[in-house]
């Protein structure tokens, strides 16, 4: 049984419908990447899964339980963590405080958890007293991912982790994603950078106009000329 299932999801903002029936699954050890053109509804899928949008139709199931429409503060307690695309740190708080906020719902000493994040991102350990708002885009992305990992989630959801980063940093972030996945965290990510993210992913979904178009193993999608021509911009 998949860890996460989205079935026939339909939703949108106010009156505007964005998703017109999205289906996807995520296994407990997988990296799944959602790619597709702008306005396809990629980020909307993430918001739906995380309870920031309620489904108009369809169902989200996590670990066998229906979680559709639960508010984010409940979803986070189930073992899902979400890194939004923008505004994903607390800018006036230090790196360390950002991490602490990630484990706000726990009543235990956070030192071991923080140390694990610092092991993954040594850069953050050096700058733990720095305010997150004053850091570079790449560092902020590390803070955001670190914050999301503080709860040891079963699923880490990343919305365009490479957006606005220099190519070298993109590679670094993707390496970290692979590392987190090896440690036993399922990854669901949305990416503009289709080639790199599909190369990393076990499976990919191509989304366009709010619907699934194609899905399959990442490498397969990448080598399919039809997919490349129609959805990935050559």
């Amino acid at each position: 049984m998949p860890l996460l299932t989205v079935e026939g999801a339909v939703t949108g903002y106010g009156e505007m419908q964005v998703l017109r029936g999205v289906n996807l699954t995520l296994e407990a050890d997988e990296i799944v990447s959602i790619v597709g053109p702008n306005g396809a509804g990629k980020s909307t899928v993430m918001k739906l899964v995380f309870g920031l949008l309620k489904p108009w139709e369809g169902k989200v199931t996590f670990d066998g339980a229906d979680i559709s429409g639960l508010p984010p503060e409940k979803i986070v307690r189930k073992g899902l963590s979400y890194v939004p695309q923008v505004d994903n740190v607390f800018p006036t708080m230090t790196v360390e405080e950002n991490l602490e906020m990630g484990a706000y719902i726990l009543d235990e000493p956070l030192k071991p958890r923080k140390e694990r994040v610092y092991e993954l991102f040594p850069r953050l350990a050096e700058r733990r007293r720095q305010r997150a708002g004053k850091m570079s885009g790449g560092e902020r992305q590390m803070v955001a991912m670190g914050r999301a990992l503080m709860l040891d989630p079963k699923i880490l959801m990343l919305d365009e982790p490479s957006a606005g980063l220099a190519p070298l940093l993109v590679d670094m972030i993707f390496e970290k994603v692979a590392e987190v996945n090896k440690a036993g965290v399922a990854i669901l990510m949305v990416e503009q950078n289709a080639k790199k993210s599909l190369a990393l992913a076990d499976r990919g979904y191509v989304l366009a106009t709010g619907q699934n178009q194609v899905d399959g193993p990442g490498e397969e999608l990448l080598s399919d000329p039809e997919v490349a021509r129609l959805y990935l911009g050559g």
Partner: protein
């Protein structure tokens, strides 16, 4: 083609705005204001001792203002609403304090102060009480609006309604006259330094205000709930996604904001007198302090409160004290025109 630096591509108006909006400009303008006040006082023939006294007096006033301003700015930060009822929460605190002081059997005067143990007990009772009342009023007046995602104007109206409501209750129970915590007690002043005279009460007021400010600082920096308050002020959406219990944060925000307002009101009442409009008249200086110190920034509000307090008092050296609010208003207008994000805010 030659490279054009971005600064030169700006239109003249934009360039002027950029220079004007720099924090250094803001600080220089404040310094200039200080010089103007000083010169005006010299022209009027005000002695240096008197000026110094007013400066000290302004610092004392700044301490009381800070207690109110911190609440206003925290409530704005966490809930994104301007609590125009904050001044009247101060009034409420002051009058509830009066009830406790009146009800308790009179003990001896705690020399050198003018008050007895009753005032201290009143503080201990009234501060949490008004904090809880503030949370109750939030549930009554503002939470339904938040649920409906109402426009900011609705929050402003609700807050004003609350302000008038509280003041009317004060009129109803205590009348329109002014009152004192203790009537007919001598309140001698002593010389602090070089001709500057203060009353021991005033030192107590400043001491307690500073103590409470330090406690707020420790709360925001060291405790989990304080950090959560800052997180919510920083990025409310992310706070939700992180699983921060926003209702709990809202509760603590009102408890602290309301409690500090009550303390500020009682201290102001001890220093001056109790009037039903006392808090209402503090509202403008409160918001001037908050805006000057960057709205949502607790430490900025404290700094703003001391600046406003000092400017306000020193201006009375040559202006009719009735214009004190005008001075606070002037500072607020200047900030809003030149640098609306305040002394400690970030542009854009």
């Amino acid at each position: 083609m030659t490279e054009v630096t971005p600064a030169l591509t700006l239109r003249p108006g934009e360039r002027v705005r950029k220079v004007l909006g720099h924090p250094a400009t803001m600080w220089s303008m404040l310094a200039l204001l200080g010089v103007v006040l000083f010169v005006a006082a010299q022209v009027k023939g005000v002695s240096n001792t008197q000026l110094l006294s007013l400066f000290v007096r302004g610092t004392l006033l700044g301490g009381t203002l800070a207690l109110g301003a911190v609440g206003v700015t925290l409530i704005y930060g966490v809930l994104k609403m301007s609590n125009f009822a904050h001044g009247d929460m101060m009034t409420l605190g002051a009058y509830l304090g009066l009830v406790v002081v009146t009800v308790l059997p009179k003990g001896p005067v705690l020399k050198p102060f003018s008050f007895g143990y009753e005032f201290l007990v009143a503080l201990i009772i009234v501060v949490p009480l008004v904090g809880l009342a503030a949370f109750g009023l939030d549930k009554l007046a503002f939470r339904p609006l938040r649920r409906r995602r109402s426009q900011p104007i609705m929050f402003a109206m609700a807050a004003l309604g609350l302000a008038f409501g509280i003041r009317s209750l004060v009129y109803l129970f205590w009348g329109a006259d002014f009152s004192f915590y203790y009537t007919g007690r001598p309140r001698p002043a002593f010389e602090l330094f070089s001709g500057v005279r203060v009353r021991p009460d005033q030192l107590f007021i400043l001491g307690l205000a500073v103590l409470l400010i330090v406690l707020v600082y420790l709360l925001l920096e060291r405790t989990k709930v304080g950090k959560a308050m800052r997180a919510m002020a920083d990025n409310p959406d992310l706070a939700r996604v992180t699983g921060i219990d926003t209702n709990r944060v809202v509760f603590w925000t009102w408890l602290i904001g309301g409690g500090l307002a009550a303390a500020g009101g009682m201290l102001y009442g001890l220093d001056v007198q109790l009037r039903p409009e006392m808090g209402w008249w503090l509202l403008l200086p409160l918001f001037a302090s908050v805006i000057l110190g960057t709205i949502g920034n607790a430490y900025g509000a404290m700094a703003g409160a001391f600046i406003i307090g000092i400017v306000w008092q020193v201006s009375t050296a040559f202006l009719n004290p009735a214009y004190g609010h005008g001075i606070a208003f002037l500072v607020m207008i200047l900030v809003l025109l030149v640098r609306p994000e305040g002394l400690f805010g970030k542009r854009g």
